[in-house]
Every structure is written in structure tokens, then in C-alpha cells.
Symmetry: C2
Subunit: 320 residues, 2 copies
């Protein structure tokens, strides 16, 4: 541990768990911890718990070496530092999270949503080192995105740009469980969406044998479908291919928007990439004009998933 280095605190706030750590300027997480978000009824108790945890390390390295606190959180707004609306967090809406952390540590605090933090993390420490125009697509429970344009986070006039999981791929298609909008990417290409696809496929293909048929609909998970696909299960493989087709159309649209050098995938579904990525690439090219085909690279993040969120959050203040 080099005590002359600058450090940042990176915090990844999720509805269930909050992971945080101290990151040095070369991207090593020198200390890490996690707590259960829902255990903290007040935001003050939550912030104090994090402060208590990192305190010994900050005292060791010296507060002068702390550049600031970076936070990735659902609906975190980089422009205002506020979490305006967060149905999955135990605290009130319009929470000035950035200010509260900044006051507690007497250091700058920057906050954004988790996918934007991942994009900045990839640029600082990951697959996007040296790239100025790229985007990160997170394929997890939901579908998130962070867009980097000319080296800067694309955040729009109000801090909310880059919600590509909610773009429409099939007009009047499957209804999204949260927004009630029909046919958005997240309704198909998230872990939640894939499970819905699985149940639809199983209902329509009762005569085709599948390992998935021995599970109750409620017990089917994206992980289980992946395991069945690995065993060669035809229906499980088709579920991922169907997902890849829909994702491919969306990727074509994303490429036409910002002409990124690369699209970097991140999150749980990247484990199953062998089952959907070629199809996604094929349908992406099929839906692009000739001069856009074979241009944008599709890459899977090489950052450890548990670390990436902390690194991404820390890089919000490390970049400055």
C-alpha cells in the first residue's frame, strides 16, 4: 500500500446490498466492505455506517490523500447529485445523496446511476481504456446503459440520458412490469425478461422435450436456463437466440445514434454470451445500412463484476 497515492471511495448502492471500497489511483481496491441497504432506515445511519467502516483506512492514508467519494445508485443524477426517484431504496425520494456524503467527509462527492458509473469505470480501468466513443450495456436483472461521447458521459439536459433499456424494440410488444410500456428492450433482454421468454416458449412448445419442463414456472431463473443451454437443451438455447435477435435490433439503433467504436457488455447475462452474442451481431448488422456494418466492436467487459461497480463509482472522482 503506497501512502503517497491518491485514493477515492467508491460506493455501489443497490436495493439489497451496498458494496463500497477504497480505490487507489492505479485501480486497486485496497479495502472493501458491504452492508445490507435495507438495514438502514435513515439515510444518516447509512452514511455513518460507511464512514465508520472506512475511517481506519482514511486515518492510515491521511485525509489529504482522499480525492472524494463516487457513488453509483439507481437514478443517481450527476448534474444535481440527487436521487430523484428510487422505488427500490428504503429512503425518501429527492434525496440529496451527493451533498450528504460531501458534508460527512468534507470532500467532493459525485453520483450517477450504476450503468453510467460502469461506463466511466471501463474507460478508466477496463476494456474502454483509450476509447473516447463507446457505450456500456449492463445485462442483469434489468438492462442499463452508459454512453461516453468524445470522452464525456452523455447525460442530456437533465442528467437522465442513456436509458437504452427502455427503448422500444417491438412496438406494442411485451408489457414492462415496472413502466407498463409495451415492447422495450428490458422486457426481453434482462434476466427478468429471459425468464418470461422461457415460460412463453415452454407453453408454446409442450411437445418439444426440455430440461426446463421439470421445473415449476416460478423456479425458472436466467441462471437455470443458462445451465440447461450448456447441457445442450434445445429450448434453452432458442431462448438465448431469441434474446440475441431482439438485442441485435436494439444494438443497430444504438450504433446509428452515437456511432460508438465499441459496445461493452457487462452483467450476469454475459456469462451466457456464447448462446446469444453471435445472433446479436448477426441481427445488428442485418438491421444496419451497409456503411455501418462490421464497424462497432462488441466486447464483453473484463472487469470482475463485484469490483467493477466500486471501481466505476470511484473513477467518477478519480478522473477529475
Amino acid at each position: 500500500m503506497d501512502f503517497n497515492q491518491k485514493f477515492a471511495i467508491g460506493i455501489d448502492i443497490g436495493g439489497t446490498n451496498t458494496a463500497f471500497g477504497i480505490v487507489d489511483s492505479t485501480g486497486n481496491i485496497v479495502f472493501r466492505n458491504r452492508l445490507s441497504t435495507r438495514d438502514y432506515i435513515t439515510i444518516d445511519s447509512f452514511i455513518s455506517a460507511i464512514e465508520e467502516s472506512v475511517k481506519p483506512y482514511i486515518e492510515l492514508t491521511g485525509i489529504d490523500h482522499l480525492t472524494g467519494i463516487g457513488i453509483g445508485a439507481p437514478n443517481g443524477n450527476l448534474q444535481t447529485g440527487v436521487i430523484e426517484y428510487a422505488p427500490n431504496l428504503p429512503w425518501e425520494d429527492n434525496l440529496p445523496m451527493g451533498n450528504l456524503f460531501s458534508k460527512k467527509f468534507n470532500k467532493p462527492c459525485r453520483i450517477t446511476n450504476d450503468a453510467n458509473a460502469a461506463a466511466i469505470g471501463e474507460m478508466t480501468y477496463g476494456a474502454a481504456k483509450g476509447l473516447k466513443d463507446f457505450m456500456v450495456i449492463t445485462l442483469g436483472t434489468g438492462v442499463g446503459s452508459g454512453i461516453i461521447s468524445n470522452g464525456n458521459l452523455l447525460d442530456g439536459f437533465d442528467g437522465y440520458a442513456g436509458e437504452l433499456g427502455h427503448t422500444i424494440v417491438i412496438p406494442e410488444g411485451r408489457k414492462h412490469w415496472g413502466t407498463n410500456v409495451c415492447g422495450c428492450l428490458e422486457a426481453y433482454a434482462s434476466a427478468t425478461g429471459i425468464v418470461i421468454t422461457a415460460n412463453e416458449f415452454l407453453n408454446c412448445n409442450e411437445s418439444t422435450p426440455s430440461l426446463l419442463q421439470s421445473y415449476a414456472p416460478n423456479n425458472i431463473t436466467a441462471q437455470l436456463i443458462f445451465e440447461c443451454a450448456c447441457k445442450g437443451d434445445k429450448i434453452a438455447i432458442e431462448i438465448f437466440q431469441y434474446t440475441g435477435k431482439i438485442l441485435g435490433v436494439a444494438l443497430a439503433n444504438f450504433a446509428l445514434f452515437s456511432s460508438p467504436e465499441a459496445i461493452i457488455f457487462f452483467g450476469g447475462l454475459t456469462k451466457a454470451k456464447d448462446f446469444w452474442m453471435n445472433t446479436a451481431k448477426e441481427y445488428m448488422d442485418k438491421n444496419l445500412p451497409p456503411n455501418f456494418r462490421n464497424k462497432t466492436k462488441l466486447i464483453v467487459s473484463n472487469l470482475d463484476e463485484a469490483d467493477a461497480a466500486i471501481l466505476g463509482a470511484a473513477s467518477l472522482v478519480m478522473m477529475k
Copy 2:
């Protein structure tokens, strides 16, 4: 005419006509002219013709007051100054248009595509004055777009960002006449697309009386459909409403991408805005998550169409 002012040459190169003019720093076109693009077999003769035309005015104002030349042209690349591929222009591909003009006038030359030039023109002289995050959608023979993010043109890693007319709105939908891709916005929301819609509607609704039925399919134009809609023709009005629905889905996707403060419409179809704009707004909101609804303003450009292309091109160098 103020001889102490800075001036720029703005050139709008189209497949049929090239319009150009001298623009002062307050956005007045103090001289304008046009020539027939196809009359010039060599690019040198084309550039010389423009130089001859503007020469007397440059001599009057003094070459020192000329800031440069801005060009809007199909597939013009801001990063390279090259027109890489221009099937509608009489000259060879990979034409270093920027360099050629720059050498002729011994002044900087910047080139981009017409929709990007329109976006910069709107920011400099039009409805987007003071806005930093917005986009221009041109609804003409085709559908073009120019995206401004944080005050800068979004041009991607290779200069080709913002081709929103080619984004997919109906997967596996209508085949585009140029790219052969199915279901892109331009196949529906351009003047060309609307004429196709009209012929489809007339074939499917033979029993519904329409003024359009008295024309041969080849004689139906977007202008004619507009005129029939103004006379209260039910089918003509339905054609624009159908177009508005599809455009609305696309606008929702654009808003989710860059969260623009405004989307500014430009081009021939804006004349018919009373027939499609409310529907577009309704379907845009219907396809957006709640926190994105009623946020992005939909505005029709107030720049004179003939002038806007020249102003937009000139502002490429006037901004610098």
C-alpha cells in the same frame, strides 16, 4: 452591409442544386446564389464556379473578414473533411471536399452532412439558441438528424453519428429502397415513405371514398396528400396520423438516448404538422417511462427553409 463584420461562406450541396451565400456574424445572408450541381462534371469546375460567384463580394468586404467556408453535403464527414460515399453527387467517392475548398480560398473549411449543419444552424441562429442538448430531425425526401450534446455536435468515433432515419421502428417492417433494411424510420416518415403509405392505404380501403383515388399511384406526392388532408380527406388525414404514430415511437427512443431539451423538426413535412404532430407527441409519451413523459419539447424550426441550409453551413465556421 457592415464592412467591419466577419463573414462566412455557407454552401449547401445537394444532388440537384447547390445553394450558397455569404453570411454575416448576425445571421444575415448578404449575398446568395445557386447552381445546378450536375452541370459540373469535375469538382474543380464546381469549386471555381462558386469562387467566381462570391469573388466580387469577398473583394468588397476584404478577404481578412472571411472566417472560412462551411459546407453541408450528403455524407460529409466533419472529422475528415471528406465525402466518403455520395451516390447522388456527380463526382468520385472519397472526395476531400474540405481540403479542396480550403486550398482555393486559403481559409479554413469545415464540412458535415446537411442535418448536422441544420442542427448547428438552429443553435446559432434558430429555435435552439441557448440550448445545449437538443436534436434536429429533418423530414424531407429522407429523414435526417443532427444531435447536439452539451453544446457540441455528436459525431461518434468516425464522424457518422446521428443517422436516426435508419433506426428500426418496426422490425421486419417495410423494406427501405436504398439500404434494403426492413422497418427503418425513413421508410415511413419521409416524403417517400408517406407516398408508399398512401398507396398501401388506398389499396386496402377501396370502399372508403378519397380524393386521392382520382390520381394514378405514380402521381401521388406528399404535397398532394397534404392538400387532400387540408380539404378534410379522411384517408389523407389517416396517412399522416399513421406516420405520426411511427414517428412517436422513434422520438421516444431518441429521448431515452440523449435526453434532449428539445427536438426541432425541419423540412417539407413540417408544413403538414397539424396532421401528425399531436399523434407523434401522444405516441412518444405512450412509449416512454413516466419520468420521461412531457419533458422533451417538440418544436418546428422557424428558419426559412431556403436560408437555413446556408446558415447552418456557415455556422460551422462562424462558431469557431
